[in-house]
Assembly symmetry: D2
Homo-oligomer: 368 residues x 4
């Protein structure tokens, strides 16, 4: 198996012509696309329809070019989009492909596997049931990707369902207790259950540590590689596992680091160095060309403080905390890499250290 | 003359108790306060009343402690506040004091002078008349501060008036043409006229280059040290000139750099190095303690591109571009300095290179 | 006792010159001011500082004109401001005065009394303790106002404290459980406890019905005359009771109606008719001149539906539901009255029927 | 020719299942759809992608059900969506169909015709060329709809292109002067050119009155029936002309009124009365069932005043004026009709009286 990584700038969620052109040029075979991860230009909150729009646009294109139905494409390929390109960030999407070309060179090489859980019923969203389904799917993906140890997993992206106002009303009428009766809050619950699922699969948390009472409470329990989103546009957990494996062919490898807090610029330098890149204080153009994709998960510190000083993100009635923190982390990362096409996603509860988060990057292997 | 710099975190624009406590402790004499520059927690746009609120609160306190009237305090002390602490930024204010203590040590030392123009009539806001009045006031301030050359000026903060909806309606009724009939746009016009005024005073622009037709058009004409704000709460241009002079006593000195674009992290490192501080990639705690104040002026690139990639700041109907860019630059600066108390102000038209801006920092002199 | 009502348009929370002019003209004696209720131009959410700013400005003015200290003024006069003048609404404030002029004419006449509870500790905000303190204060106010029966009470405005991020962090550190660990949500808890307090005082709810478990759950338990706000700027519940009494002199009387839902335009017509005013479909200019003040409390329907059709207020990540609903109700009321100076306040949990709210109006008595 | 009107509530721009179900039930033949006008749940500003998303979803559905290509559907059917369902408004879309069933009853009956101009080049957007192209297309549509006089035209909906940041950058690079170099402002220019085009076609303005210098200046020049939108998702002006004609069969007729200002509730009553409906003060359920569609165009008064009192819509940095005014007018209309499914669109420059706008309604003819 060979992995390839293709990144496209997005001008409008209805316009996927850059990918179409790449397919037309033969740069990539649409049948080999296994996952798409990207940033869309919406607000990244419950009423962000740019994620669904881009999904529809991409599914249409891939269906046309492969002869599959749109439905079949959506069933097979996780489309994982985080809305919100605050500040310097660029809407874009990274297309991950797997084919059977090339020969492994024996070094750690990017390995990719995807998995889908069964649809999560409204009553299970943000609950233990979602945790267990996620863990099972992650383990299955690792096995299929021939990633040998949990330490070789560097990024697990999960997109899970959240509750709509309609579902909440329905449950209330039916007397069913949901994890939350607030759509916005349900997005957080879904992310947390997914994160616990990844942590369980990778041994970051023991089965005993999987307790709903720890959700939003015991932030020492986290996954250092889980990046979890949620949105009304999916019904099941869609999972993409990225790691390194010597069994794969291809030019790419991946690394990750935890971020201690929102100012942990050292973690950015460290993950780049893990990949042979050195920012001084910014990557130079040849190094920029090596960087293939970068993923950040972050969170507005819930204590209201960063390095002992107050921030205003949690009190702002006009701008959601996630819009604040994405803009902040996106800028720091872009300043170090000179690249604004970073996947920066908010809502990092139990994903990396509390008040911080995590960063993963994919780069071409250095020439030897 | 001796300069001192005092920085206070702001929890609420109605609460100036930290300054009151510092006065009570004898840390600073309220009669020596010559200017206050700060960030308030509003949106930083036309309807941001946190600037006026903090001004009222501080003027009340200083009046009470000095026995002056509130009116006299406001006439004497420029209170220059920029709203908007997006992302990691901390609301705070920096109190600049001048007294007659100490002896000059013969090295370049922070020199401070303030100046006020006459009230700017609505018809002159954003016009040549505002440019000339500003230039005159800057030159006068330099003279009084004994700053010997324009090269020794590192930061000129100007706060000028903008047009309210009421003034615009009045002018329309009277048939008077204003620089703009849009309150938000008038804020920009005021900033630009102030910036041209600073550039004229410092010889960055020649008298021939002062043309209204160049406003918002010829962005090669700029000041590398002007930081201009505007707001409904002032009627005249209020100016604070900061530079270095061997005639001053005190522990502080100042430096500045232009920023080429929003990702110019190199400029941040450079200005710190000018002051003997080295971020690798972040200031360490002893160096953090030396940093006394940091000022950034920045702008969402009007081409819609940063390093060749699109950003969404100019198209976002929910978040003003200034909220985006302040959050981005604030985060980059804070990541390098480990300090979230930066004055980061948007609206940098003709203040530093287009699409970039400028940065100035005050630090304690290194121990010798 | 005689009641008078004075309404002033607000151009800026720092500018109280219209009230100053009225005092100077002798229109009102500042010593007779017993309460001020108004709408300020902020966002009406946790980080709305326009309420505190206007309070500071008014307290300063009244202190100057009465010779009292600012502190004494704030201790005596409830300043109750709701932020957010969305849509057609006009920032304004209504000054309520009580003096000993005039003679009762024997008809029901506007009676006013204010009351303050003791400061509410953070742990009591949104709890039964706040309910009981509020009820006690309301009963005391009625007694002092000589309002003979609960049926004569038409509007009880309460402003209570809410939790700040700092208080929440402190409580968490101290292991103290608060009603909510979310500042925005704490505003709602404070309003609910106040509303239950009013309902208890007026016999709308029995003592047995005062249960914390009913908060946000049993919306059949409500007060039809309570209008509760909350904000960081007060530490105690500040209460203004408005009713009719034959023992009062003055030209004004008050009426109220419950609103069934957000489209209950019939309630607006009804409350006007109670006061002898008839909108067909809008008040005519002579009737407009009779209307002295109008108060609305409203809420975005939590079912997500209005008359069976979905609304989007609860899902909007860019605009808080309260900004939506205030703009909607403000417009309906203004269209019927031809007057944009309505006090329209969101957050009507347990204040009027769920999904609706209540309306109260003060008008001059018709000439006989 | 027979006209029919079908209204569907929208839960998500990617979900057009209610229309699909109606087609499946035989309620409407997809081949007879001539236009769709609707409200989507975005912010209604430049970065509102919900309009394009719904267009893609509907075009896909209609293409599948008619056997046409998506491209052919979009070429034939104007999809005219206004984003922004602030306050009580419900996202929905009205499908207008024309078939050859039925016989005219000789009374004025809803007549529908659509027209498309050629694509408008970026340089012509907001210019005289767009005016003339629009006028020509409107006249052509009237002719084809057999609407005999301009007085029988009650609503002309136009959706025109606006400028993107990319187009503006391109024009600047090419030295081409555009109507505006601000994307948001270009939306307004496009609307104004379209409105002048409608007014020219209907004789509301003479050819001499079509001057670019009058745009945004002489607001006495307006169309009383034009409702113009703009967005990045169209390249040509797409036009829907609605009027009455005795040559048509069908159960519906249409009426319209100008609105003097934002509080002109009388105009709402009047347009309903024109259709035989009487709100007292609200339509009763049988009358509600007769109302088939309602269209409002409105504008935040640019003087900053409504009935002599200030509003804050033009100064609000957090909420665009169009979000404010749509929420206000939507609420007033819904309160009178008891129906939240109104098409309320902002940006009414030169569309109805300045500061006001216009209202049109379609209702079933009363039973005789």
């Amino acid at each position: 198996m060979r992995s390839t990584v293709h990144r496209f700038t997005l001008s409008d969620p209805g316009d996927v012509s850059p990918l179409a052109a790449a397919i037309d040029r033969g740069d990539l075979d649409p049948a080999t696309i296994v996952a798409v991860i990207g940033k869309t230009p919406g607000n990244g909150l419950v009423n962000d329809y740019t994620r669904g729009y881009l999904t529809q646009s991409l599914a249409l294109l891939i269906a046309e070019r492969t002869g599959q139905t749109r439905h079949a494409v959506v069933e097979r390929v996780p489309f994982i989009f985080s809305g919100g390109t605050e500040g310097v960030l660029t809407p874009h999407y990274t297309v991950l492909c797997v084919d059977d070309q090339g020969t492994p060179d024996g070094t750690p090489t990017l390995a990719i596997a995807t998995a889908f859980t069964a649809p999560i019923p409204a009553a299970d969203i943000g609950r233990r049931a979602q945790v267990l389904a996620t863990a099972e799917a992650v383990r299955d993906a690792m096995r299929r990707a021939r990633i040998e140890s949990a330490a070789d997993v560097h990024f697990v992206q999960v997109k899970g369902p959240c509750l709509t106002a309609a579902q909440i009303a329905e449950a209330k009428a039916a007397g069913v207790a949901l994890a939350s009766d607030n759509p916005d809050k349900s997005m957080a619950y879904s992310r947390v259950a997914s994160a616990f699922g990844v942590a369980l699969a990778l041994g970051e948390l023991s089965p005993e540590q999987i307790e709903e009472t720890a959700f939003f409470r015991d932030f020492e329990r986290y996954s250092g590689v889980a990046s979890c989103s949620s949105g009304v546009e999916v019904q099941a957990n869609e999972i993409v596992v990225l790691g390194n494996s010597r069994h794969w062919a291809g030019d790419y490898r991946i690394a990750h680091r935890e971020m201690r807090d929102a100012l942990d610029i050292g973690a950015i330098h460290a993950v780049l160095e893990d990949l042979g890149l050195r920012a001084a204080p910014q990557l130079d153009p040849p190094q920029q060309a090596q960087l293939a994709a970068l993923f950040v998960k972050c969170e507005a510190d819930r204590t209201g403080l960063i390095r002992g000083q107050p921030h205003t993100m949690l009190n702002d009635g006009d701008m959601n905390p996630q819009r604040h923190i994405r803009g902040a982390l996106g800028a720091i990362v872009a300043a170090v890499t000179a690249d604004t096409r970073a996947f920066v996603s908010g809502g990092a509860e139990h994903q990396g250290p509390d008040g911080g988060g995590l960063i993963a990057a994919i780069a071409r292997k250095p020439r030897r």
